[in-house]
C-alpha cells in the first residue's frame, strides 16, 4: 500500500518540481505589449476585413485610439512612435477614405503630444488626407496649419498650408480663405495680407455684410493700414 502511494506521490513531486523549474526559467518571458501594434499592410487589412471594410476600419480605428492605454497602462504621447502612428493613419485611410474619424483622431488627440517636433507627422498626414478630397476635407488643412503654427511653432509651414486653402474649389467659408492673411498679419507682413484681402474681394462678388465688416475692421484695426478702395466702396454700399 505504502509502496503504491510512493509510486504515485514521487512522480507527482517530480512533476511539481519540473513545473517550478520551468516557471523559474520562463518567468521573465512576457508578452511584448508595444504601445502601438505593428502596422499591417494594405493588402492584409483588405483580406482581414472579409469584405466589410467599414466594420474593420472602425474596429482598428478604435484600437488605435486606445493603444498605449490598454492593459492598465497609461502612456504619455511623447513615448509614442509617431512614424508608426502616421503609417497607421494611412493604412486606415485605405479602408475608408471618406470618414473624418482618423483625421480627427490625429488632429484633436495625437497632436497633443508633449514632444512638439512629432506633430510634423500629424501635419503631413492631415495635408495628405485633405489633398484627396479638398472640397470635403478642407477643415483638416485648417487644423494642420493651426498645429504647425501653435504646436510645431513653424509659422512658414503654417502659412504654406494655409495658402492651399485660398484656391480650394467649392463653397468653403471665407475665413478659411483669409487664414493666410491672419498669419501674415501676425508675421508683420501687412502688405502681403492686404493683397490676399484684395484678391478675395476681386474673386468673390456679393460678399455678405458680416464678411465685409470683418475684412474692413481687420484691415483698419488689426493691420492698421489704409483701407483699399474696393473694400471701402463695398463696405459703403452695404451700409
Amino acid at each position: 500500500m505504502a509502496a503504491n502511494r510512493l509510486l504515485i506521490n514521487l512522480p507527482l513531486i517530480l512533476a511539481v518540481f519540473l513545473q517550478a523549474a520551468l516557471w523559474y526559467s520562463s518567468r521573465h518571458i512576457k508578452p511584448d505589449l508595444a504601445i502601438l501594434p505593428e502596422v499591417p499592410g494594405k493588402y492584409e487589412v483588405k483580406a482581414l476585413a472579409l469584405g466589410d471594410d467599414e466594420f474593420y476600419f472602425r474596429a482598428l480605428g478604435n484600437r488605435l485610439q486606445m493603444s498605449g492605454d490598454t492593459f492598465g497602462r497609461s502612456t504619455p504621447f511623447k513615448d509614442y512612435d509617431y512614424v508608426k502612428l502616421a503609417e497607421w493613419f494611412r493604412v486606415l485611410d485605405s479602408l475608408d477614405g471618406k470618414s473624418n474619424y482618423i483625421p480627427s483622431l490625429a488632429a484633436y488627440y495625437f497632436s497633443l503630444t508633449q514632444r512638439h517636433s512629432d506633430t510634423i507627422y500629424v501635419i503631413n498626414y492631415l495635408q495628405e488626407t485633405a489633398a484627396k478630397d479638398p472640397e470635403r476635407k478642407w477643415w483638416w488643412l485648417v487644423q494642420a496649419s493651426i498645429i504647425a503654427k501653435y504646436k510645431l511653432g513653424d509659422k512658414n509651414l503654417a502659412l504654406k498650408i494655409a495658402k492651399k486653402l485660398e484656391n480650394i474649389p467649392g463653397d468653403i467659408p471665407l475665413w478659411a480663405r483669409q487664414l493666410p492673411a491672419f498669419y501674415l498679419a501676425d508675421m508683420g507682413e501687412k502688405e502681403q495680407a492686404i493683397i490676399i484681402i484684395r484678391d478675395l474681394l476681386k474673386n468673390y462678388k456679393n460678399l455678405p455684410p458680416d464678411e465685409l465688416n470683418f475684412m474692413y475692421y481687420f484691415v483698419k484695426d488689426r493691420l492698421k493700414m489704409i483701407i483699399p478702395e474696393e473694400l471701402q466702396n463695398a463696405h459703403r454700399e452695404e451700409r
Binding site: K46, D53, R58, L105
Partner: protein, 252 residues
C-alpha cells in the same frame, strides 16, 4: 412540405436558437454602444458599424452551428428516416428542409435589420440594401450548411467546413486581386496555387459584395442590388441540386 418547415422552426425553438441569438446580438449591441461611445468622433457611425458587423457574424455562426448539428442529430435520432417514410420525395425533402432553414433565418435577420435600420435611419436605402443582402447571404449560408452536413458524418467537421467556405467566400475578391497582381511564373508553385484559387473562385459566391456596413454609414454607393440577387438566385439552386444529387444516392 410546410410540415417539415414547421418542424424546423419548432426544433429551433426547442434548441433555444432564437433566445440564444437574440441575446448574443443584444449583448453585442450593448458592447457596440459602449465602444462606439468612446470614439473621439463619429460615434454614431461607430455604433452602426459595430452593431451591423458583429450581428452579421453572430447570425452566420449561429445559423451554421444550428443547421449542422440539427441535421447530424436528425440522422442520429433517425428523424430523417422517419420523415422519408412519409410520402415525400427526396428532392422535396431537401427543398423543404432548406425552406425551413431559410424561414428561420428570415425570422432572425429581419428584426435585427429593423433595429440596425433604426440606428441608421438617415440612410434608408443603405439599410434596405444591407437587410436584403444579409438575408440573401444567410440563405446561401444555410444552403451550404445543409449540403455539407448531409455529406459529412461529423457535425464538427461540417461546422468547420462551413466556416472555411464562409471566410473563403468573404475573401474571394481579395484573392482575385492577388491573382491579378501575381508576378510569379506560371510553372512555379505560386503560379499553380494561383490557378487553383482561380478555379475555386468559379464555384465560390462573392459574399464580400454582400452586407457591407459602409452602406449604413454612407448610403448604398457602389452596391449592386441586382448582383447579390442574381448571385443568390444562381448559387442556391446550384447548392440544392448538389445536395439532392448526393442525397439521392444515400443508403439508409
Amino acid at each position: 412540405m410546410l410540415t417539415t418547415t414547421r418542424y424546423i422552426l419548432l426544433t429551433a425553438i426547442r434548441d433555444r436558437l432564437f433566445i440564444a441569438l437574440f441575446a448574443a446580438i443584444f449583448l453585442s449591441f450593448g458592447i457596440s454602444v459602449f465602444m462606439g461611445g468612446t470614439a473621439v468622433s463619429e460615434q454614431n457611425q461607430m455604433i452602426i458599424s459595430y452593431t451591423a458587423g458583429s450581428s452579421r457574424l453572430i447570425m452566420v455562426i449561429g445559423f451554421i452551428v444550428f443547421v449542422c448539428f440539427h441535421v447530424r442529430r436528425a440522422f442520429d435520432n433517425r428523424e430523417i428516416e422517419l420523415i422519408l417514410s412519409r410520402p415525400i420525395s427526396r428532392h422535396a425533402f431537401i427543398f423543404s428542409y432548406w425552406l425551413g432553414f431559410a424561414a428561420l433565418t428570415a425570422l432572425i435577420v429581419l428584426p435585427v435589420a429593423m433595429v440596425i435600420g433604426f440606428l441608421a435611419r438617415l440612410q434608408i436605402s443603405g439599410t434596405l440594401y444591407f437587410a436584403a443582402s444579409l438575408l440573401c447571404e444567410s440563405f446561401i449560408i444555410v444552403a451550404f450548411a445543409l449540403f455539407i452536413s448531409l455529406i459529412l458524418k461529423s457535425a464538427v467537421g461540417a461546422v468547420l467546413a462551413c466556416f472555411g467556405f464562409y471566410f473563403l467566400s468573404r475573401m474571394m475578391g481579395f484573392f482575385l486581386v492577388l491573382i491579378e497582381n501575381s508576378h510569379y511564373a506560371a510553372v512555379s508553385l505560386n503560379g499553380l496555387l494561383d490557378k487553383l484559387l482561380y478555379a475555386l473562385s468559379i464555384f465560390a459566391p462573392r459574399l464580400d459584395q454582400f452586407a457591407q456596413s459602409k452602406w449604413l454609414v454612407y448610403g448604398p454607393e457602389g452596391a449592386h442590388l441586382h448582383f447579390f440577387l442574381l448571385q443568390t438566385l444562381a448559387y442556391i439552386p446550384f447548392l440544392l441540386l448538389l445536395t439532392i444529387a448526393d442525397f439521392r444516392n444515400k443508403q439508409f
